[in-house]
């Protein structure tokens, strides 16, 4: 039966995240962007909401079950607060969920309980530097050698790489398939480069990474012999990014709406002019449409159905919607929209990233 009503548990979770986003995140978002640094306390508070433990089974220290629908509801709300904070708080999921999905029993027992403790940065390395990154034609390779795997290549946009203990590195294997390897950052052959300077999500630390003959035991290949289904991981990643895009778009749409109601020009609030009102109406429609596409894709994933089409379209649609909606937000504020003290230009910079972000989030 078709329904668009979240469960009571989901609603309570969203309310809790909203409080966090409003009271803890929004007040520091501007300064975090300017200083390119998010206060640790804000990340800790976000972590304590317990998103990941709530998605892990009891046997691994958690207290719940992972659902993509719950994940996208949470992601939207976090991103409504601030995208950089959302990505940083959720970063451990880049390891936790692939391990939950495909890890061997030993890998799950080893890693999953760590996500039920204090925040500790973990990350994944997927994107590669240069033009035309294609996840299905990665340049980073994993070669079998003397009962081990040897990783070679270069990665980029790896969040938290300088402090993460464990990095899940995606690499192309001999058969052309994509494998994932649990790498210890301290291992020989790994070099974390200088922190990247990005247009948006400036509070989140991202780094380039080079892998030069990094040796990994077979036990550290995610999924062991069976490996992973990279396409499925990508679907969850697409849905996560799409949900975050919806959150950013919604933040801008709501802000522009409130602003247009109080900004008086020509003796009336500008929202009473159709030129403005129609931008706001279109923004509201696009936010809702994108959210529904995210929900449908997440629902399909939760049903265990093939969802590549839905996840891809949701990702594409939400990325476009986020850009047009945040752009309209800047336009609604006019000159003020261009001033960094107002959040709309930050949301536009953040939104631009969704078309190319890869491997930055997971639900």
């Amino acid at each position: 039966m078709v329904s668009f009503t979240p469960t009571d548990e989901q609603r309570m979770l969203v309310e809790a995240i909203h409080r966090y986003a409003e009271l803890d995140v929004r007040p520091i978002a501007h300064e975090a962007d300017e200083a390119a640094s998010i206060p640790d306390a804000v990340i800790r508070t976000g972590w304590e909401i317990g998103l990941i433990p709530a998605s892990l089974p009891e046997e691994y220290g958690g207290f719940g079950q992972r659902e993509a629908l719950t994940g996208v509801l949470a992601a939207e709300e976090l991103a409504w607060g601030d995208l950089a904070v959302a990505l940083k708080v959720m970063a451990p999921a880049l390891v936790a969920y692939p391990v939950l999905m495909f890890g061997t029993e030993a890998q799950k027992r080893d890693l999953l309980p760590r996500f039920c403790e204090d925040y500790s940065p973990m990350t994944a390395a997927l994107t590669e530097p240069g033009l035309f990154f294609d996840p299905l034609a990665m340049q980073t390779t994993a070669t079998a050698e003397d009962g081990q795997f040897v990783l070679n290549g270069a990665k980029a946009n790896v969040p938290l790489a300088a402090e993460a203990e464990t990095i899940l590195v995606y690499a192309r294997e001999a058969g052309g398939e994509v494998g994932a390897y649990l790498v210890d950052r301290q291992q020989a052959g790994i070099a974390v480069g200088e922190r990247e300077k990005l247009m948006g999500i400036r509070g989140l630390e991202t780094y380039p990474l080079t892998l030069d003959g990094v040796r990994v035991d077979q036990a550290r290949r995610l999924g062991g012999e069976a490996g992973i289904r990279f396409g499925l991981i990508q679907n969850y990643a697409h849905v996560a990014l799409a949900a975050l895009a919806v959150g950013v778009a919604r933040a801008s749409a709501e802000y522009a709406r409130a602003y247009a109601k109080q900004r008086v020009q020509f003796g009336v609030p500008i929202a009473t002019k159709q030129a403005i009102a129609f931008m706001l109406a279109e923004a509201a429609i696009e936010v809702d449409a994108a959210r529904l596409m995210v929900w449908e894709a997440a629902w399909k994933l939760d049903q265990g159905q093939e969802a590549t089409r839905e996840a891809t379209l949701a990702r594409q649609y939400a990325a476009n919607a986020a850009l047009t909606v945040t752009d309209a937000g800047v336009q609604t504020l006019g000159g003020y929209g261009f001033i960094r003290e107002y959040p709309v230009e930050r949301w536009l910079r953040n939104a631009r990233g969704f078309a190319m972000f890869s491997g930055l989030a997971m639900v």
Partner: protein, 421 residues
């Protein structure tokens, strides 16, 4: 509750049946009925009348059944509107013009259901639920000088105190199914007229005008850009006399001196159902065009991959992915508006969102389809150019895209129509 996109098995089956009709009966006639503009889709009407009649009978009987205190109230949401949505979408996929010739009470039925008394519902709607001959209902609101601005209507209804009849005078245009209702069946038209021009909306009342009423003259069958099989007429009312009890509604609706606008609001409330259904019709046309494009691309050896990055897609593949995304977005907004109806919840905002999005998306999708197909798209041998023309009306009727944006804007900004106009 939980978020779910599960379409019940029964609805899926009904959709398949509608698709069979669309494919087997409507598609073969689609081109001919487009070229021969005022011909009637006889096959479709004959096939679907018994089905619609029996559906309408069940609905009417349920509507008029006295409340049975022993019968437990049905738990949870219904599927009435979801069934309509998939049916409308499928039939429009077959041919949007023919679909609009569906023999049923259509918009007249919505108005009668919304504001008619039980006695009037029985009197006016029973014909759509019985008999071997198909009947049509229609709604006459638009006038040459009153399009989106419905309160500007000039058609008058004056009560003749001697005969206690209403005397109607004026011109109505763009009446879908008006010829079928008035001249080609024992149908009826709900006509909006003002009983007191100075009262504005409060003076606007709905009247039921029966087929073949003297002084009611179909003056023109329009020739149109698209949906050519659809019957769109102008009607002139020249001292047309209507029985007193053809004014729809309870005394509150009828009262003109109280300044009430319940009748008008009743009409507006029918948009909550009609707009998502118009959106559903748009989706059917869009899907037809998209499926055809994909089919032709596959024949030409071009697939549409979902796992490839932007730079590895051709311009055509990107276009098709965007067409698909736009259609899906419109579909989901429509599904939400429909689902709210089935849950018995207000949906005016969501209905206008769905209508605005679907009208625009499908217009773009079908125009793009013609472009991608090149001269094949432009050639009347195939249906792509027809779908483009058929799609265009969806951003116009039942509230233009702009009117629906205005409604969305008022609702999200919490503005009245006076504050934002």
């Amino acid at each position: 509750m939980a978020i779910s996109f599960e379409i019940p098995e029964r609805v899926v089956q009904e959709q398949q049946m509608a698709m069979a009709l669309a494919q087997g009966v409507m598609r073969p006639q689609a081109r001919r009925l487009d070229e021969d503009e005022h011909a009637r889709p006889v096959d479709f009407i004959q096939m679907i009348w018994p089905v619609l009649r029996d559906q309408q009978k069940r609905q009417l009987d349920k509507l008029l059944a006295p409340p049975d205190p022993n019968k437990p109230k049905r738990e949870g949401p219904g599927i009435t509107y979801l069934r309509m949505m998939v049916q409308v979408e499928a039939l429009s996929w077959g041919d949007a013009g023919q679909y609009l010739c569906m023999p049923s009470a259509l918009l007249a039925g919505s108005a009668i259901e919304a504001v008619g008394t039980p006695e009037q519902k029985e009197r006016f709607l029973r014909r759509f639920a019985e008999g071997d001959d198909p009947k049509w209902g229609a709604m006459a609101m638009t006038e040459p000088n009153a399009g989106s601005d419905t309160k500007a209507i000039e058609t008058t209804a004056v009560l003749d105190p001697e005969t206690r009849e209403w005397v109607l005078n004026g011109e109505k245009i763009f009446i879908t199914g008006g010829g079928l209702a008035l001249n080609e069946s024992n149908g009826l038209v709900v006509v909006w007229a003002t009983v007191d021009k100075s009262a504005g909306r409060a003076g606007m009342k709905p009247f039921v005008v029966e087929a073949r009423t003297p002084g009611v003259i179909v003056t023109k069958a329009e020739i149109k850009h698209g949906i050519r099989a659809s019957d769109t007429v102008a009607v002139s009312f020249q001292n047309a006399r209507i029985p007193y009890d053809h004014l729809l509604g309870d005394p509150e609706v009828r009262a003109i001196d109280e300044g009430g606008t319940k009748g008008f609001k009743g009409a507006m409330a029918t948009f909550d159902a009609s707009r998502p259904l118009v959106a559903a019709g748009a989706l059917g046309v869009g899907r037809a065009a998209l499926e055809f494009v994909r089919e032709k691309l596959i024949e030409a050896g071009i697939d549409i991959p979902y796992d490839r990055p932007y730079h590895k897609l051709s311009a055509i593949q990107r276009d098709v992915l965007e067409m698909e995304a736009q259609l899906k977005a419109a579909y989901l907004l429509t599904l939400r508006a429909i689902s709210l109806l089935d849950h018995g919840q207000r949906n005016s905002l969501e209905a206008s969102m769905a209508k605005a999005k679907a009208g625009k998306a499908v217009t773009w999708v079908t125009q793009k389809a013609v472009e991608i197909l090149g001269m094949m798209g432009y050639n009347r041998e195939w249906l792509a150019e027809k779908w483009m023309r058929d799609a265009r009306i969806n951003d116009i009727y039942e509230g233009t895209g702009q009117i629906n944006l205005l409604i969305v804007a008022r609702r999200i900004l919490d503005y009245s129509s006076r504050e934002l106009n």
